[in-house]
Symmetry: C2
Subunit: 207 residues, 2 copies
């Protein structure tokens, strides 16, 4: 067996160099590129280059929120666990995934809706501003509904649900809001992708 | 906005139907297909159809271990959090991710190796049999080394590290062992994919 690179930072740097070489032509700014490359790093899938939509001034808004020690809502425990806890701590931010909460579980069962939908309702009622969706199209639909009704005030959204039923549509719908956002269009996305976007944003501040 | 499907089980069933229709010709058995479809369900990426390698009698071995209440080793907290905890509980299994352990952290720092490598050393010394890798090529290299030295006795391995440095090679190397295994060849894979394979195996028993 050949010897192999063992330093995590060295591995990451080499990976980003390879991605830069292989991804070819693009129109991303240097800051946007950091997000796109990190998603490709997380998925080994260059198609994300064509799927990531970064709305104007959204990175700036996300950074402003992260610097203010915002609470980050995630739709799954998996997305929450993919977010770098050390970076969160350094920024005095916090990550909350409501789907595991007892009250959310009960409400979902009573109403016959997904736990993700009940969770987003709860988060909105508690004034969450920074939303991260990697899994649940239904949660994204719900956030749009609540925002249009004036019952939610999102200031930044990562919309990256994955899947075959409702995922692509959920991203089309959420983009109709004027909120600053980053989305992954089409069927692709996922908890890992959503977490990678959060990490990329934090590293823009911290590194 | 159109009405949308809200029942999680209904969403999953419809997704699997779409995947079945779109994935085209294949040589998978019915049981293998359950694993492949779940990975595509998790990634929205049909390329996995051509990347997943299921060694003969490996599903049977995995099922035997799961039925015996095995401890499942994962290389990341993210993979651990993607594994269905309810199914784990029903099977009397447990999931352990060693990378967060204090002793593992110390050892990695002292030796200048990745925490993933130190974690796999610890797991092997504690007799773990069922290994799940979604992230760390270095951990997979290390497991192969330890197995060849007689210091590890894996009975089933999921080898799905993702990435640009070492990931593809790590899967080529691990396949040289005779151990029952499921791997994702090439650069792709990831924590979500690794967890999806574990879930698919558990659902074969439980559903």
């Amino acid at each position: 067996m050949k010897d192999y690179i063992k330093s995590p930072m060295e591995i990451e740097k080499k990976s980003f160099d390879i991605i830069g070489k292989e991804m070819g032509a693009h129109n991303f700014s240097d800051t946007e590129l950091k997000i796109v490359k990190r998603v490709i790093h997380t998925t080994a899938d260059f198609e994300y280059k064509d799927l990531i939509y970064i709305r104007e001034r959204s990175i700036e808004k996300a950074i402003e929120l992260l610097k203010s020690g915002v609470t980050i809502y995630t739709d799954t425990n998996m997305a929450a666990s993919g977010i770098n806890k050390n970076a969160i701590k350094r920024l005095n931010c916090s990550v909350e995934c409501f789907v595991s909460r007892e009250d959310v579980f009960k409400e979902a069962k009573e109403k016959g809706i997904t736990r993700s939908m009940a969770a987003v309702e709860k988060a909105c009622s508690e004034g969450v501003k920074f939303f991260v969706f990697g899994n649940a199209p239904t949660a994204l639909f719900k956030l749009k509904e609540l925002t249009l009704k004036g019952q939610a005030s999102p200031e930044f959204i990562i919309g990256a649900p994955i899947g075959f039923v409702g995922a692509a549509e959920s991203k089309i719908e959420i983009e109709k809001l004027n909120t600053p956002m980053i989305t992954v269009r089409g069927r692709k996305g996922g908890s890992g992708v959503a977490a990678a976007i959060v990490n990329a944003l934090m590293y823009i501040i911290l590194r």
